[in-house]
Symmetry: C2
Subunit: 195 residues, 2 copies
Amino acid sequence: MAETRDRIVDSTAELFRRQGYTGTGVKQIVTEASAPFGSLYHFFPGGKKQLGEEVIRWSGQMYLQLFVTVAGDAPDVATGVERFFDGAAETLRETGYADACPIATVALEVASTNEPLRKATADVFDSWISAATEWFAASGIARERARELSLHMLSALEGAFIFSRALRSTEPMHVAGAASAAAVREALAAASGKA
Amino acid sequence: MAETRDRIVDSTAELFRRQGYTGTGVKQIVTEASAPFGSLYHFFPGGKKQLGEEVIRWSGQMYLQLFVTVAGDAPDVATGVERFFDGAAETLRETGYADACPIATVALEVASTNEPLRKATADVFDSWISAATEWFAASGIARERARELSLHMLSALEGAFIFSRALRSTEPMHVAGAASAAAVREALAAASGKA
């Protein structure tokens, strides 16, 4: 039964990425998950809203884990940044520009319409900002500068998803990645007294 | 009658900004516009899809005009960039974080689900990228660099809307604006041989 629950969460996450929260119905979710209709309400008595909140938090955690893995494998933070953006560009291209940020579409849809889900996206974004800030700070960048770098980098990433998906082009993602990596290199040089 | 059509377009644009395309129904549109139900189909025989495409293109043009006005009033391009982001932050704060990019939510919702609307958002984004590129190039920045700056700036703007709305904070927008202005100043210095 745990497997069915996982399939429901997984299918919902994919539908949210591709079409958002509003356009995703419970019938489509159970169909995609090959799950009996009643199983959704068995695992999520609160229905789509409860499932939505769980999927936002779970997807946000998965995406943070992906960032940590890519970043951890890189020889330095600037290279880690560039690899993460390039990986996002490659995934977009491979999936016909469908597979992007797991929660951005939902975040915009619910920001002014659904407070519990808005709060879930805010918690996810806060966790990303904190993790990136810690990562930059650990490489010697002052904490305040590290937070600014993180906010600008994550904003550029989210915006590049919008432009790349709409324009069906990896150019915005590659440009945003190169610019973000350059900003990190500059902050590192300033921190080590070279600039 | 032309006034009714304008009210329909205007109300739809506001609903798209706040809740996206998928969650906006024709009944809500005519209610918000104080228009008779039939008038929507009188002016837009293709219904919500036709209206949606018109609103995307019209909103995109209005937003470009706002950028041109703010940018044109500034003493230099870097100040123009910072003022535009600061103005966006102020608008977010004043509207309870509801009034953001006119087409971002729609762009993400339709990118993989509705090709005519996807094309409309792509045309709008292309017009913004071209206008910003021309503006930067006119201040002496090489065209290729001007395009990169534009893509990075617009991505940061769109992403900052997502973070600011979700976090109910103007910080992401102000940080993205300051960073974008700094990147423009650097490119200007490089173009004039000062760096």
